[in-house]
Subunit: 375 residues, 2 copies
C-alpha cells in the first residue's frame, strides 16, 4: 500500500477516526450534553467535520491560526481555550468580522477584562469572554473563591459592548492517575468548580450562557454533567499510547501513525535505524508514566498495524529513530529500505510536525488532508 510513499509520512486511518468519533458522540448523547470537540489534535477541517458530525459549529481551538482556518471553512462558533491577551484582540476582531462568526475567548485576569471592555467599546466589536476557573490543575484559572471572579464578570457584564459569556475549566490533572475512582472524583470536582462559580455570579445577577468543562478522562468517567452546557475533549479522534496507557482506548483504536523506512542496521548498537526521529515523532513521552515501554512509539507492521514483537522507538535524534532489537533475526525481517509504522506516544505533537495526513481506508490510500500548524 505504501511502497511508493516517501517517508517519514503521517498516516490517518479514516475508519478508526470515524469509530472513535462515533463512540464519543454517543457518550455525549447518552449523557445529554453537547460535545465541543477540541481540534488542537487534528488541526484539520476534514477531521473537524467528522468530529462534529457535520455540524460546522461548536468547536474548540488552541491558536488563532486554527480559529482563522476553521472560520474560513464555515465553522461559526469557535472557542479559543488559551488565555487571550490584548495583543491578540485585533486578530480576534478580524476573524469575527471577516467570517461573521462567534469567536469566544477566555481569561482569568482583571487587566485583560478591562482591556477587552475598552477594546470592544473603542472598536465597536463585541469580544465574547469566558472566565477560566482552576479546578485543580493549577495552570490557567482562578480559584472559585477568588474575588477577581466577580470583578471580571462585572467588568464585562457592565460593558455596553463586550459580552460576558460564562465560565470554563479543564481538569488536565485527570491524566495524572490510572485509578478510575480518582478520575471520577476529579470529574465531580471539575463540574462542581464551574457550577459553584456560576452560582456566585448568579447571586450578583450575572448569568452564564456557557458552563464548559472537559478532558478526555473526565468526559468518559463523569457520573453526571447536570448543570453544564458543554464538554470539551480532543485527542479522542486519534488516540495514542498515552491514552492506551490510561485505559482509555485499545491499541486497535489508534488512528494516526507515522510511516517510516529502515535506513540502517546498527550492528554495534543492536538496533534498527529509521528515518522518523525527534521531528517526525516528537520527543513527547506522556505515555511512559503508565506504559514504560512506549518509548517514542511502538514499531508496527506497516499494513496490519500489529506491533512488531516488543519493538519500540527507544531513542531519537532529529531525523533518526533507534529501535533496539533483542534478536538479530529482525535484520532479516526488516531489511534496509523496508517500512514500519510507528504508533505515536502522544498524537498531538507527533501530528504537529506534518503538513498533511495521508488518509487510508480499507487498505487503500484515499486522500490527503491538510493541517494548519503554527500561530
Amino acid at each position: 500500500m505504501f511502497d511508493a510513499i516517501e517517508t517519514p509520512r503521517l498516516i490517518l486511518d479514516k475508519s478508526r477516526l470515524e469509530a472513535n468519533t462515533k463512540r464519543f458522540l454517543k457518550r455525549a448523547d447518552d449523557m445529554n450534553i453537547a460535545l465541543r470537540p477540541h481540534l488542537k489534535t487534528s488541526k484539520s477541517v476534514d477531521v473537524a467535520k467528522i468530529a462534529t458530525a457535520g455540524r460546522l459549529s461548536g468547536i474548540t481551538v488552541s491558536t488563532l491560526k486554527e480559529a482563522e482556518h476553521f472560520a474560513a471553512h464555515g465553522f461559526d462558533n469557535i472557542l479559543l481555550a488559551a488565555g487571550i491577551t490584548p495583543n491578540k484582540f485585533a486578530r480576534v476582531k478580524a476573524i469575527m468580522e471577516q467570517h461573521k462568526i462567534d469567536l469566544i475567548v477566555i481569561t482569568d485576569s482583571i487587566d485583560v477584562a478591562n482591556a477587552a471592555a475598552r477594546f470592544s467599546e473603542a472598536e465597536n466589536c463585541a469580544l465574547q469572554v469566558l472566565i477560566e476557573i482552576d479546578c485543580g490543575e493549577h495552570r490557567g484559572g482562578l480559584s472559585v473563591d477568588n474575588p477577581d471572579l466577580l470583578e471580571i464578570a462585572r467588568t464585562l457584564d457592565q460593558s455596553p459592548v463586550a459580552k460576558f459569556k460564562g465560565v470554563i475549566t479543564h481538569a488536565g490533572h485527570s491524566y495524572g492517575t490510572e485509578d478510575e475512582d480518582e478520575v471520577r472524583a476529579i470529574a465531580a470536582h471539575e463540574r462542581q468548580s464551574v457550577l459553584d462559580s456560576a452560582q456566585k455570579l448568579s447571586a450578583i445577577n450575572i448569568a452564564c450562557d456557557i458552563i464548559s468543562v472537559g478532558s478526555t478522562p473526565t468526559f468518559l468517567l463523569a457520573e453526571t454533567f447536570e448543570g453544564l452546557t458543554e464538554v470539551r475533549c480532543g485527542v479522542f479522534v486519534f488516540f495514542d499510547l498515552a491514552q492506551t496507557s490510561r485505559g482509555i482506548c485499545s491499541l486497535d483504536d489508534i488512528a494516526v501513525s507515522v510511516l517510516a523506512t529502515v535506513i540502517g542496521h546498527s550492528r554495534l548498537g543492536k538496533a534498527l535505524i529509521i528515518d522518523a526521529g525527534a521531528f517526525a515523532l516528537s520527543k513527547d513521552a506522556s505515555a511512559n508514566a503508565f506504559l514504560p515501554d512506549a518509548g517514542y512509539g511502538y514499531a508496527c507492521d506497516p499494513v496490519t498495524m500489529q506491533r512488531l514483537g516488543t519493538l519500540s522507538v527507544n531513542g531519537v535524534h532529529q531525523e533518526h529513530g533507534t529501535i533496539h532489537i533483542d534478536d538479530e533475526a529482525w535484520y532479516q525481517r526488516l531489511p534496509v529500505g523496508s517500512q514500519v509504522r510507528i504508533m505515536p506516544n502522544h498524537a498531538c505533537p507527533t501530528a504537529a510536525a506534518h503538513d498533511t495526513y495521508l488518509v487510508i481506508e480499507n487498505g487503500a490510500i484515499i486522500a490527503e488532508w491538510p493541517r494548519v500548524n503554527g500561530w
Copy 2:
C-alpha cells in the same frame, strides 16, 4: 521593540548569529580544514549564506526538502547526512538534474549500495555515495572492521555510473560528557575511524575524495584534522542552553529565542502562564543533563535578554508554558499581557515549530526570514 508583535514568535539576533559564525569559520581557517555547515538547525537560506561566508556551496542537510530548497537558492554542493534508501532515489535525481548540483548521499548498507548502482545505471544518473562509519555513537554506520565497508565501496566503485565518494562519521556521543579531555579523545577517535576506513579502501585501490567528520564539541576541541577533507557542525549558528551546559558557548552567544506573552497568573500554582508551550518551545530537554534548571528554557527580559532572576519554563502543555515563581513580586513585574523571551533548551527543535524568523539587529526588527520545515 516587540509591542506590536503577536506571540509566540521566533526571534533571531543577527549580530549574535554573525559573531558565532565568525568564531567557527576562524576556527576552521586556523585548523586548515573546510567547514561544511549543517543547516538542519536553521533550515534557512539567509542563515546559510552567512554560515558559508557567502560561498553558496559545501553544506550539510538533514532532509531532501532542505536539499531541494537550498538547491533552488543556488547552493551547488549538498550532503544529506542521514542514510538514504531506494524510495528516495528518484527525488535525489530530480534535485540533482533540475538544479545541476552535487547532492551527496550516505549509506551503511550493501542492499542500498546495490540499489544505488542499479538505479544510477538504469536512470543514467550518477548517485554520489559516502559510506557511514560508526565511531562510537552506535546510531548509523559500520565499524571500521566490518567487511561490508569494502564490499559497498567496491560495488559503487565498479559501477559504470554511480560514484563512490568517500567516508563520513559523526561523534554524536561527544555530547555525553562535560570533560574536555574526554571530548578530545572522542575527537581523536572520530578522526581515526574515517582515516582507518580510507586506509583500508586505499589498500584495495579505492580512493576517498571526501573524508568527513563532525560534531560541535569535537570540532572545537580536536587537536588535529590532518588527513580529513572537511568537518560538519550546525548548532553553532544559534547555540542554546544545551551548548551552554557543555561549556561551548555563553548565554550571551545564544542567537535564537521565543518571544512570548504572559497570559495568566496562577495564584494556586504560584506561576506565570505564558503562550509558549510544548509546540512553540518543544519538549526537548537536552540541556538538563548538565544544567538541571534549564527546564524548557530560561525566561528573559524581552529587550535585554538578561535572565529574569532564576526563572525557567518549568512545565509545558501544547500552547501553555508554566514558569514557577518563588516571589509574588513577579506578578507585579510581569503583568498579564507583558512579554518575555525564552532562551531555548535546544535550538533545533524549538526553531522547527516556526515558519519564519523575526530578525533583529541593534535593537530593531530588520527582516523576516523563512524556514523550510517538514520533508
